[in-house]
């Protein structure tokens, strides 16, 4: 429509005419948007770190257990037919999984003792799911029958080093107490203190023989791309049936999920406040614009511009402000995000004791395009909504009165 192009022409020229005020408004919008984009990306980075740490230490993306498996490991629960499960997984195109046997035990060394979780793992499989073997600070992973690796916290508490020995006491599947001596081949440090103080790894076959449970598996952990695991979990629930229990990491570590949700809602409140400020800025600018030009609106009303046309004229200016703010804010925000995605912020001073920063203390920005688009869309929406009240006032004004306005 021809009226649109003259509307845009008027909007842009009027904004250009009040360059200082327009720039100030645009800067405010751009600044707010850029801050939101950066905060969001850093928050994403933090969440990714939290999820990565949570899933790559031990949990994986999701876990399969036999039905009735209890988290506290008081009794061993067998995962039935692990080979069939493995085949099902392979047929679904999943190769990143690890079979495990987990049990509780007691380590005894001299006068000291401590309850631990015994992990029987196949190193080759485990490497596809967790980073445990890459977290060795001394020695190497256990390979043969009587070798173990343990967390640094545990090693320190017992004064143990690589090459040292310890005794493990546990109950086998028949409930009989068994003890055996093991040699320490490696010491790991995940940075998750509780994990480093209470977990001990040995080859799967070795734990199976220790517990007199040949072939027994209690858990299969899967590593999946972040977005897919809920879908895969449902697929697995359907194809494996009721003999198995399938849980995602969110269900296994609800504390992390809740922390993320808490962060998200805090961010949500922050976003709402920022948008409110942006909205007030635009309302203020638009109200000033409309009052300054009341007589002009009376004039164009006389020329035959309809109330809708006047609404459009004022709204066009609000949209132009919002759009300019959006574009500039996005450019600045994404530029900063890009830098922070590559270089990150060094948070050593504030995160040295934070388990989620155990790998390194660099927080990197992670951009989510959907987030960028929604934030931009919200900015535009705010601009439009904020432009409506003054636009309405201008449109409903009696032209005779508007014309006599000084």
């Amino acid at each position: 429509m021809k009226e649109i192009s003259i509307t845009l022409k008027l909007a842009f020229r009027n904004l250009a005419r009040n360059r200082r005020r327009s720039l100030l408004t645009i800067t405010a919008i751009a600044f707010a948007l850029a801050c939101l984009l950066i905060f969001d990306a850093l928050k994403n980075g933090l969440h990714q770190k939290m999820v990565d740490t949570t899933t790559s230490t031990d949990i994986g993306s999701l876990q399969i257990h036999g039905q009735g498996y209890g988290v506290n490991l008081i009794s061993l629960t067998e995962l039935p037919k692990p080979d069939e499960v493995a085949n099902t997984l392979r047929s679904m195109g999943i190769s990143t999984f690890a079979k495990r046997l987990k049990a509780t035990g007691l380590i005894l060394a001299g006068p000291k003792s401590a309850a631990v979780v015994l992990h029987g793992v196949i190193a080759k499989e485990e490497d596809r799911v967790t980073v445990i073997n890459r977290r060795l600070v001394q020695g190497e992973s256990p390979t043969s029958g009587k070798e173990v690796m343990l967390g640094q916290g545990l090693a320190q508490a017992f004064g143990l080093t690589v090459g040292g020995e310890l005794t493990i006491m546990a109950q086998d599947i028949f409930g009989t107490t068994v003890t055996r001596r093991f040699t320490i081949t490696g010491i790991f440090q995940t940075g998750v203190t509780a994990f480093d103080q209470g977990h001990l790894f040995l080859p799967l076959a070795s734990l199976q023989s220790f517990l007199d449970a040949p072939q027994m598996i209690s858990e299969i952990a899967l590593s999946l791309p972040e977005q897919d695991h809920a879908t895969e979990a449902n697929l697995l629930r359907q194809s494996l049936g009721s003999r198995y229990q399938i849980r995602t990491w969110e269900e296994i570590a609800p504390d992390v999920t809740q922390l993320i949700e808490l962060n998200d809602s805090t961010m949500g409140i922050l976003i709402a406040i920022v948008f409110l400020i942006v909205a007030m800025g635009i309302i203020n600018t638009m109200t000033t614009i409309t009052f300054e030009r009341f007589r002009e609106f009376g004039t164009i009303a006389a020329l035959g511009v309809t109330p809708t046309g006047i609404m459009r004229l004022v709204t066009a200016e609000a949209i132009a402000l919002g759009l300019a703010g959006s574009l500039i804010g996005s450019a600045i925000g994404l530029g900063c995000c890009l830098y922070l995605a590559n270089h990150g912020i060094d948070l050593t001073t504030v995160t040295s004791a934070n388990q989620y920063f155990s790998n390194n203390h660099i927080l990197k920005a992670v951009m989510d395009w959907r987030q960028v688009l929604t934030t931009n869309a919200f900015t535009m929406l705010t601009a439009i909504l904020a432009g409506l009240p003054p636009a309405w006032t201008a449109a409903r004004q009696n032209p005779a009165q508007a014309l006599s306005h000084l």
Partner: protein, 269 residues
């Protein structure tokens, strides 16, 4: 199309009351017919209701009671949009303070109403150029209002009003912001357009030098039509009519008229 005998504008017993108790009678029972070809001046002292009447005829305001017909159409039941569209297609406006859009050039200002009425670009440009030529301001087409003198701005405003050839053009004190020489020249221009192109003008003024150019004079007083004079119709000459009513010669209502002349002389300074 209205027939030639049918008035372009018919105002019947129009009242416009202001104030919380509707105590201010800006117009009190005005009847007026404007016919094709009129060059009609609404005269009368300040506060007599000229602006109010022009606003009502221009559909910029609503009467408290009474009827306003434009080209035979009763405007009483029209909504805001319909009134805007009627203005767009049937009425041209010239304002005392020119009221050009400051961010548009002279050319764009004249073109604006043509855009509104949906004309194609070529036609728009032709009509705009013609209108600017007709008011003798074509060489300033690309200037913005702030680069033009008052007289030039008002000529652009005239071009804007005539470009779409509306059947009638309303002008509230079109010379009010101009010095007497420029004002006289502007009225000459309007009269020329009226005589050469048959454009109907309804304008207001309290300046005798402007009023004497009119072919029809309607004098408002306290919101009512006090007197009327029409060229070729009334027996006494225009000069006598204006003299009686505008220049303070021994009039029918002498005192009022004297007062008015003093105040209008003050205002013109």
């Amino acid at each position: 199309m209205p027939s030639l005998t049918e008035p372009l504008i018919k105002v019947s017993d129009v009242w416009r009351l202001f104030g919380p108790q509707r105590q201010d009678r800006a117009l009190a029972g005005v009847n007026l017919r404007v016919t094709t070809g009129d060059f009609l001046c609404l005269a009368g002292p300040s506060g007599s209701g000229k602006t109010t009447l022009l606003n009502l005829i221009g559909l910029l305001d609503l009467p408290s009671s009474g009827q306003i017909e434009i080209l035979g159409q009763d405007t009483g039941n029209l909504n805001l949009k319909q009134r805007a569209l009627l203005r767009r297609h049937r009425l041209g406006f010239i304002f005392q303070a020119y009221n050009l859009i400051p961010v548009l050039t002279a050319f764009e200002n004249v073109e604006y109403p043509l855009i509104l009425s949906g004309k194609g670009q070529q036609e728009r440009h032709d009509l705009t150029r013609q209108a600017l030529n007709a008011v003798g301001i074509a060489e300033h087409a690309s200037k913005r209002p702030s680069e033009l003198s008052g007289g030039q701005q008002q000529r652009v405003a005239v071009a804007r009003a005539i470009a779409g050839s509306p059947p009638i053009i309303l002008a509230d004190e079109p010379t009010g912001n101009l010095d007497s020489k420029t004002g006289a020249a502007l009225i000459e221009l309007l009269l020329h357009l009226n005589q050469q192109r048959g454009i109907t003008f309804l304008f207001s003024s309290h300046d005798p030098n402007v009023i004497k150019q009119a072919r029809r004079i309607v004098i408002l007083k306290d919101g009512q039509i006090d007197r009327e004079w029409q060229e070729g119709k009334d027996t006494n000459s225009q000069g006598i009519f204006i003299g009686e009513h505008l220049t303070g010669e021994p009039p029918l209502q002498g005192k009022d008229s004297e007062e008015w002349c003093k105040s209008s002389a003050l205002r013109r300074k």
